[in-house]
């Protein structure tokens, strides 16, 4: 071996990663070459020093920050659960009735069937109150309430996306996400079609 050994070869030689024939030739060369022996000594010094490198510690505040994040996620998860299993179905049912009946007078049989089909029970008092309003006034109120309804669903969808970023496989959140997306699509369809 007339040329000097590469650092890669010397590192592999140190770790015993060279094939025996190459390792033997490297050893022969090292016995004769002071330059390569110096390189080998330096590679060995680096390899031997590395395990003793200081174990660095995170700042004291890190533990508190971790605790806060865990607590925050628990709170958010429970809020999300409440939102989907109690809040959204009730809100969706009530506001769909308002949206349909407020804009076009009393709820149509189709609209009520549609809401029942969704598994939501209409709120008679709300429907009755809306049906008493004049057509224009009801439409104005509906637009406002409908906006709140859609914003509520959008907020829920955002919460789901955050939760899915953290845990893409969470079946409950996936189901809630699909349900909220479907509610939004259905509500928009109904608005565009004028409640038909």
């Amino acid at each position: 071996m007339e040329q000097h050994c590469s650092e890669e070869t010397l590192s592999a030689y140190l770790d015993g990663d060279l094939e025996s024939e190459v390792s033997g030739r490297t050893a022969e060369h090292l016995a004769e070459c002071e330059v390569c022996r110096e390189s080998l000594a330096q590679v060995r010094a680096i390899r031997d020093a590395a395990p003793g490198m200081e174990q660095l510690l995170p700042p004291e505040r890190t533990w508190g920050a971790i605790q806060e994040r865990i607590h925050g996620e628990r709170t958010r998860r429970s809020r999300l659960t409440r939102l989907f299993w109690v809040g959204v179905p009730a809100l969706a049912a009530a506001l769909l009735v308002v949206a349909v009946s407020g804009r076009f007078g009393k709820p149509t049989a189709d609209a009520l069937r549609s809401i029942t089909h969704l598994g939501h029970t209409p709120v008679p008092s709300t429907a009755a109150a809306v049906s008493d309003l004049s057509r224009d006034r009801a439409a104005e109120q509906t637009a406002q309430e409908y906006g709140e309804y859609v914003r509520g669903i959008d907020h829920a969808i955002d919460e789901c996306r955050d939760a899915l970023d953290e845990n893409p496989g969470n079946a409950r959140v996936l189901a809630a996400y699909a349900g909220a997306s479907s509610d939004r699509r259905r509500a928009m369809d109904r608005l565009v079609s004028g409640g038909e």
Partner: protein, 174 residues
């Protein structure tokens, strides 16, 4: 913050886990990312994930390997999301001594300039003491590729540190 006895118990266990592994996680993240604030963020991410996944940990691997895997993935994710900031140069305030301790400081200062692939393997193998097989699984490379990256990493360090290592008698074991 802790509301039930069961939660309190889980929290004590988790706190012990944090005490045991915070140094390894933070050191690995710091050396892979070359930035203390980023390392702190990643350390938080890692332990929040550890807490959430602790119940589903099946013990197929050692806890240390499991946590390292989460830490390495968190570092890789972090790097994908954010470009690495400019590393501190060796010339900035680095005093080179004449004891083996100074080699550690020299390595620390040169790590940020090392190519990402080399650095990951060097940190995990030579500093943290993981085996090539474990590293290969974590990084999705073969054992041979892990070895090759390691030898290139050491070669890089040798070239970088050679001016500081030359003529030091302890390097040659004298």
């Amino acid at each position: 913050m802790v509301t039930t006895e069961r939660e309190a118990g889980a929290n004590v266990g988790f706190e012990r886990l944090y005490e045991m592994y915070r140094g390894r996680v933070y050191s690995t993240a710091y050396r892979m990312l070359s930035n203390r604030a980023d390392a702190e963020d990643v350390t938080q991410d890692v332990f929040v994930k550890v807490f959430k996944k602790l119940k589903s940990f099946r013990g197929d691997s050692a806890v240390s390997t499991w946590i390292y895997r989460i830490a390495v993935n968190a570092c890789l994710d972090f790097r994908r999301r954010r470009r690495l900031r400019q590393a501190v140069s060796l010339d900035e305030g680095m005093e080179v001594g004449s004891t083996p301790l100074s080699v550690m400081r020299l390595i620390e200062s040169a790590l940020p300039r090392m190519a990402e692939g080399y650095r990951q393997v060097f940190v995990l193998h030579d500093i943290q003491g993981l085996k090539h097989e474990e590293i290969g699984k974590m990084l999705g490379i073969t054992d041979g590729a892990s070895k090759s990256q390691l030898h290139r990493a050491r070669a890089f360090l040798r070239r970088e540190l050679s001016p500081y290592l030359a003529d030091r008698h302890w390097v040659r074991g004298e």
